[in-house]
Structure formats: structure tokens, C-alpha cells
Symmetry: C2
Subunit: 155 residues, 2 copies
């Protein structure tokens, strides 16, 4: 799962615009890339990658989540969850224990080490957002949120 990482990331290509919204379309692409670039590099240094971070991120915000719920939230199959989850357990970034009442399900929690990595990875993503928000000011940030909410809820 580890990759050597390449740090510097892919300058924006200058392409002719066939539509007014082509610029926006490309910004979404480079925006996503830009937000995740440093976090991915950090994760790669830890021998982890995006799927691991997604797991850590969700468990951090839903302590004692059951594995089945995690599968639902991540939107992947239990087989796909299996490998990254086991790696996180082996590396003691997560713990799992049977629920006290519902012994059928297992509850996941971050260890201190898991928390640290989750925080550092997420921090790198938020840092990119924070700097962008600071540059455009509160009204621009509010506009961004409004647009993104509209897009996210367009399904």
C-alpha cells in the first residue's frame, strides 16, 4: 500500500475552454487533488493510504461504531474493508471489542496512536481549506460551502 510519494503535484494544465463551466469543472478536479496531496504524502510515509484514513476519520467521529455501520458509511464491501481494517488493528491504531449488550457486533475505537495519525492527516487537509478560506474571506467561504452543499445534496 505504501508508495514512495512524489510530493510536488501536477501543475494545472492550460486547456482551451469549450464551455463557460469548463474552468469550474477543472477546478473541482484540481481542488480535490490539492486538498488531499499533502495528507496522502503523510499517510504514505506511515505506510497508509486513503482507505485507511477514511476508516480512521469515521471511527474518530463515531467511537464504538460497529463494523457493519462502518461498511455502510464507507460504501464499500466488507471484503474491501477487510484488509485496511486488519492492518489498522495489527498496527494497533484501532481496537475492536465485543459490545457489552450486543455481543454479536464488534465496536471499533481509535488508540492514542490511531488518533494521532488521524489528526495529522485530517489536519493537512483542513489546513489547505483554511488557507484558501482565509485568502478569500468569510463571504467567499460561505459561498463555497453553499455551492458544495448544493452539489453534495444533488443526488
Amino acid at each position: 500500500m505504501a508508495k514512495t510519494s512524489q510530493a510536488a503535484g501536477l501543475h494545472r494544465a492550460s486547456l482551451a475552454k469549450l464551455d463557460d463551466l469548463d474552468a469550474a469543472l477543472e477546478l473541482m478536479y484540481y481542488g480535490w487533488r490539492g486538498m488531499t496531496l499533502e495528507a496522502d504524502a503523510y499517510l504514505a510515509k506511515q505506510g497508509l493510504s486513503r482507505p485507511h484514513h477514511r476508516i480512521l476519520y469515521v471511527v474518530a467521529r463515531r467511537p464504538d461504531i460497529a463494523i457493519g455501520s462502518l461498511i455502510d458509511i464507507l460504501g464499500i464491501s466488507k471484503q474491501a474493508l477487510n484488509r485496511p481494517l486488519n492492518l489498522l488493528l495489527e498496527r494497533k491504531l484501532l481496537t475492536s471489542k465485543r459490545s457489552p449488550e450486543q455481543h454479536r457486533s464488534k465496536l471499533l475505537r481509535l488508540t492514542a496512536a490511531g488518533q494521532r495519525i488521524e489528526q495529522r492527516a485530517s489536519h493537512r487537509e483542513r489546513k489547505v481549506l483554511r488557507e484558501a478560506f482565509d485568502r478569500v474571506g468569510a463571504p467567499g467561504a460561505a459561498g463555497w460551502m453553499g455551492v458544495m452543499e448544493a452539489i453534495a445534496d444533488s443526488n
Copy 2:
């Protein structure tokens, strides 16, 4: 490369927020997903996927682009480009011919069929953006662009 597609996509999970910017972070994730969802479904129906669309998108905006330049813009290896590019050539969505002067390089162009698919796929992505922009109005849209530019150029 074709997948059966699942159409409806993954409602936003409600997670506790550990940081003010967690909401923004999640919006970027779901925003990217939301923008590409319908386009991906359309592409899957055509037996194509995201890498094919990226090729079609770039060639549409850089007619007569050489393969080497395409590799640079996409940021992948020529071996990775090989399969999707050959599929597009076989399906006659792209043509390649030697350059008149620089016989060493081959120039890529979209066929009419390739143009149609590129337009329909990109249209689906822009449609999501357009509706979001319409919902928030011009100032919000401008804010969105500003933030995304700041993020995209943060590398």
C-alpha cells in the same frame, strides 16, 4: 472496464464534528462524488470510465495533441495510458495520425462519435455545477471559484 453502475449514490453520513472545518472537508469529498456520479454512470453505460473521459476531455480541448503531451497533462505513465487510449482508438472515438512536419509524433483528434461522448459526459458534470451555482447566485459562485483556485494553486 465497464461496471454495472449503481446510480443512486451514498447519502452523506452524519458524523460528529471534531473541528470547525470537518464539515468543509466532508463537503469536498461529497462534492467531488456528486459532480462525477452521473457522468460515471453514463460512461459505464458506454463501456468507458473516468480515465477514458479524461483522455477525451483533454483531446477535445487540445486537438492534434501529441501522445507525449497527453501523458504529461494526465500525469500518468505511457503504459497506463496505453490501454484506455487503444480502446478509444479501436472504438473510433479518437484518431491518430503522424504529424505533417514532425513525423515522429502522432497527433490525436476526436471523431464525431468521440466528441459526442465527451460532450455528454462533461455536460453531466457541468450540469451539477450549473444547478449549484444557480441555487446560490453569482456572488456564491464567485466565492466558490476563489476558494477552489486558492486550493488548486496551493501546491
